[in-house]
Symmetry: C2
Subunit: 381 residues, 2 copies
């Protein structure tokens, strides 16, 4: 690993704080002696760093354990779930959501407000979201948790703090600032849902998360990191070409995956995914055929995605999660047949473990990740 | 940037060697004073590190220049092209190639042996390649260059030092070891061609290199690094689905890009790319139609690739380079029409600057990159 600057003592403390907190996060609780062994730092240095982390409320001491190679008893240090937390927010086409997650990744608060946000007024909707955020932060405060950062998941493309394009909301170039008086980030819902699946779904470090919503998106996680591409626009699985001269898509193309497998196509005249699931369970031929066609299209698009992205596995999420029993067969058949000679076996195909919460949890988790990665910067240590 | 170990003095020297060599490589020549300013290291430390690099033959001193903020004259240190070099090797379906490149990325030797390597005997072909490598290393030695590492580009998938599958050679699970008595690496030709384009084609840091050969592959470079996916199999553009029920492809799928745009399809009964170019120049209708169809298929597959990978630009290489005047129109039209509503403009479409040399140069360049990134480890400093 080559940094562009040489290593001098003045930057070492910030870096070592991150190393110690990272070790506690990955494999804690640990005694100070065990942390010294794990990190290669001296016990004196570790003790001083741990004192700072205790003071900031990100770690806590718990009972006496055996620690270190020599097995001497010591006080174990672990992440604290009691003082510091982060806020996740989500604008979905069908609802607004908020959650508060503590540093141990336990969900402490969770709120959803159903709404029809298609072609909505940005100022009005953001005002509502601001209210939801404030209420949630206040309730967290009443539970003794200080919220120290927030992130927002949106169904569209993002650049900095600006929502560039969210076609299903009917928004273009909306700057989202001043939503909360805290460090703040905004990101695409499929990206954050992929990270939510990574951090809260107990996933391995490598998978393609497929987000089935009104729009179809994907987030690729490789070695525990999200792949974003050059302009942050990677993972637009919904517009992979399935049939080059197929029906027109809102993107300007033809025969995109979204035309065959987007929520609007899946539901048709039905008003909810649970209505569709009922039809499927009762063996309704039209519902079964719609799902089979969507599954076939997903199999074609995912074949192209596997060839280009080489994911560790494929996780179907969003509305594809409750439809998994009907999608699994056609998708797996398509992947199996098309990838047969190129790989020993196609990537495993599994269903999301956290369903519709993935994006809002990923948003809260992103801020936790920043605290773990850069505690000195985020906490001002 | 979080490392898993704390920073102690014993690892600092190796890291700082890389920092200083990296600065010389990126923006040199520099005086020791300028290097101290650039890296944040003390002048004493820089002088001691530069002494080691001089001794190893990777840098050299040249005339007196003005250096550093205060403009005092000093001796400039630059990469040395005179003592250390690397060897690139390539097994192509149509030829064997070798090149020697010095640390300044100047090509010092270049050899190609035409051959028909389809369904060839691995032991025999590797023996020939070993001979070519030895000759080339000896000639480099006669020119005063010590070759300190080699890499091999192959038209197939690679795992460690094993060529897993090279369908056009007819090889499967061939271990390539002992080819040279040097640090050695082996990689897919599209990956190495992408890196060749990056290092020798004076490209920006973000692009998708498309390798048109008997097989069609691609290598994605993001922020100057190759994206490899989870199993090292990313970038198989040739098997992106263009027409889901199209003609069967050797991969087990149907209607893959390779069926429409692979070299065999492009050439038909012609025996060389230059024969095809002659036909195209003379306005032969069948040749023009084949190229138009290949360009259309490339436009569809690249649309899917842009949505999934989000490349900075698209570079057409291999046999697509001489055919660029006939491919550019249909490919650009396809990308423009299909990406219209999703992006301000599609990624720029350009032709490779280094043509058929890309892969073998990328192979030599990969070892140079290792020297620059980890001089202490590679050179034993």
């Amino acid at each position: 690993m080559v940094t562009s600057r040489g290593v001098r003592h003045d930057s070492m403390r910030a870096r070592n704080l991150a190393v110690v907190l990272g070790a506690i996060h990955r494999s804690g609780p640990h005694t100070r002696a065990a942390l010294a062994e794990l990190t290669g730092l001296t016990k004196t240095t570790v003790s001083s760093l741990v004192a700072d982390l205790l003071e900031a409320g990100v770690v806590t001491e718990r009972g006496v354990v055996r620690g270190g190679e020599r097995g001497r008893p010591g006080v174990a240090v672990s992440l604290s779930g009691h003082r510091v937390a982060t806020l996740g927010l989500e604008i979905n086409v069908d609802y607004l959501a908020a959650c508060v997650v503590d540093l141990t990744r336990t969900v402490r608060l969770r709120r959803t407000r159903p709404a029809d946000n298609r072609n909505s007024d940005p100022a009005h909707l953001l005002q509502e979201l601001r209210g939801l955020a404030k209420e949630t932060i206040d309730d967290a405060g009443a539970a003794g948790l200080r919220v120290i950062g927030a992130a927002l998941a949106v169904p569209g493309t993002v650049e900095g703090e600006t929502l560039r394009s969210a076609p299903h909301l009917g928004w273009r170039d909306i700057r989202v600032a001043g939503l909360v008086d805290l460090p703040f980030a905004i990101d695409n819902e499929a990206n954050l849902a992929a990270l939510g699946e990574l951090w809260f779904g107990a996933r391995e470090t490598d998978f393609l998360y497929v987000s089935g919503e009104i729009g179809v998106g994907a987030g690729l996680v490789v070695a525990g990191s999200l792949f974003r591409g050059t302009f942050g626009l990677a993972g637009e699985l919904g517009h992979v070409v399935v049939v080059p001269d197929g029906p027109a898509c809102r993107c300007g193309g033809r025969g995109c995956l979204e035309v065959y497998a987007g929520q609007d196509t899946l539901l048709g005249a039905l008003d909810s995914v649970s209505a569709l699931v009922s039809r499927l369970e009762s063996g309704d031929p039209r519902a079964l055929e719609t799902c089979a066609r969507a599954g076939h299209a997903l199999g074609v698009a995912l074949t192209s995605a596997v060839h280009l992205l080489d994911p560790g596995m494929i996780v179907l999420g969003g509305v594809f999660a409750p439809l998994f029993p009907w999608l699994e067969g056609p998708v797996a058949d398509g992947l199996g047949a098309r990838l047969a000679h190129m790989r020993d076996s196609p990537p495993a195909l599994v269903v999301s473990k956290i369903g519709p919460d993935a994006a809002v949890l990923g948003a809260a988790g992103m801020i936790i990740q920043r605290i773990i990665a850069e505690p000195a910067e985020v906490l001002g240590l």
